[in-house]
């Protein structure tokens, strides 16, 4: 199974590389939304506004990136899905999205800090927190994208389904980011990190058990 997952991931990477529009689209989305916020706000004096804006942009970038994750599933992907079975298929999608969205996170963190200033003294703690949070976001979004793909694959439905589910995550992330700005280090927000990690495991195991039911046609 591990072998299957790895080769599926490699195939996805190749597909993305061959058709680079997707990746450039995501990068451009991040760039332009950060720029829109920059034009609207210019300078941020209150660090909690920084955190709020950052996570909202991150949320929508991830939503946008994930909504494309099953776009090839009508053609060649269907063949690979039949070969490997549903479970390795969804796990490979999740791993691929996890890597992609963490890259998106790092990119938007970089651009956002460049344009709006960096309120963190302890940037590395924030990056650890953000990567954990983004991983949880990506697994939720992958599952929601699968559900939307089965329904009729439109972007509105994807947003309606996933936004309310992601709010709990967003609250934990915003709170811990603010705590880091206020000077707590990584060990004092460890409770929140455990919540994020636990949530992540739970979502992955739910997706693992439920995805086969979604796909029986």
């Amino acid at each position: 199974m591990t072998k299957n997952i790895i080769s599926l991931c490699r195939i996805q990477l190749k597909q993305e590389m061959k058709n680079r529009n997707g990746i450039y689209g995501i990068i451009l989305y991040v760039l332009s939304s950060v720029f829109v916020v920059y034009m609207a706000v210019k300078e941020i004096h209150d660090s909690s506004v920084w955190v709020g804006l950052f996570w909202v942009i991150q949320l929508f970038s991830c939503l946008n990136a994930a909504s494309k994750s099953f776009q090839y599933s009508k053609g060649r992907d269907l063949y690979f899905y039949q070969l490997s079975g549903p479970r390795p298929f969804i796990l490979s999608k999740m791993i691929f999205n996890l890597i992609l969205m963490n890259l998106v996170f790092l990119l938007s963190q970089l651009i956002f800090s460049l344009m709006m200033g960096n309120p963190f003294e302890d940037t590395s703690s924030f990056i650890i927190l953000g990567m954990l949070g983004t991983s949880a976001l990506s697994s939720i979004l992958t599952m929601m994208s699968a559900i939307t793909f089965k329904a009729d694959n439109n972007y509105t439905l994807m947003a309606i389904l996933s936004l309310p589910i992601m709010i709990p995550l967003l609250i934990v992330l915003v709170q811990s980011s603010n705590a880091i700005i206020d000077g707590s280090n990584i060990s004092s927000i460890s409770q929140n990190l455990y919540i994020l990690g636990g949530l992540n495991l739970m979502i992955i195991s739910l997706a693992y058990t439920l995805f086969p039911y979604l796909c029986t046609d």
Binding site: I147, A151, P164, I165, I167, M202, L214
Partner: protein, 221 residues
């Protein structure tokens, strides 16, 4: 007649709760005063909502296990009941909050949780409506229902515990916790919870039958 004993029980309990709820002596607590009577009408809404949604998830799991559309109809109807009771809970809470806190919608984790629960289940309804094929609709909806419920439990059970809340009973607030919910109040509160839950079940059953009839009408046309 005998089969429907629980409906009679529900109606009786609610009549008892309405009568007793407005007439018994209540303890005078700071801030709350007479509004403590909302305990019989606001709090049971949340209990009923959670129970109805929980039953809805159970039916979704049953559907995935044995593929009978009947189970999916139940899951759908119970989630409608859950949405109804959630909205009623929000409304009663807003009326109460207007008198107690001075604002119907303060910044409070429990209110956020309630609003998000309703959003999630409305999304569930939208998802159902966007798929035409009955079996496919049932399957997709069941998967989303399970997913939503798990996130909901995390949000409604774990998250408010890590926050300070304005709600009575929470830390630093005057109100009813286990020690000053006196036996008088309990005599009305427990029947209220059971009564509203039974009414919720009845509403869901009616919704399910209505849905079925509508479906049959559509098939005739």
């Amino acid at each position: 007649m005998i089969k429907n004993w629980w409906k009679f029980l529900g109606v009786m309990l609610i009549l008892y709760v309405i009568y007793k709820g407005f007439t018994i002596d209540v303890p005078r607590l700071d801030v709350l005063n007479e509004t403590i009577r909302n305990l019989f009408f606001h709090v049971p809404m949340w209990f009923s909502m959670m129970l109805l949604l929980f039953l809805s998830v159970i039916y979704s799991v049953l559907f995935l296990a044995n593929n009978k559309l009947k189970n999916d109809n139940w899951a759908n109807a119970l989630s409608s009941g859950g949405i109804l009771f959630g909205s009623l809970g929000l409304v009663t809470g807003m009326i109460w909050g207007n008198f107690t806190w001075g604002t119907p919608w303060p910044n409070d984790p429990k209110i956020h949780g309630a609003a998000i629960t309703i959003l999630i289940y409305l999304a569930y309804k939208v998802l159902r409506n966007s798929v035409k094929d009955e079996n496919k609709q049932a399957r997709i909806a069941a998967v989303y229902n399970m997913f939503a419920f798990v996130m909901l439990v995390v949000f409604l059970v774990i998250y408010p515990r890590t926050q300070s809340s304005l709600h009575p009973g929470a830390e630093g607030n005057p109100g009813f916790n286990q020690y000053d919910l006196d036996s008088n109040l309990r005599m009305v509160f427990y029947p209220a919870v059971i009564g509203w839950f039974l009414i919720g079940l009845w509403v869901s059953q009616l919704t399910k039958r209505l849905n079925q009839k509508e479906q049959e009408l559509l098939e005739i046309e």
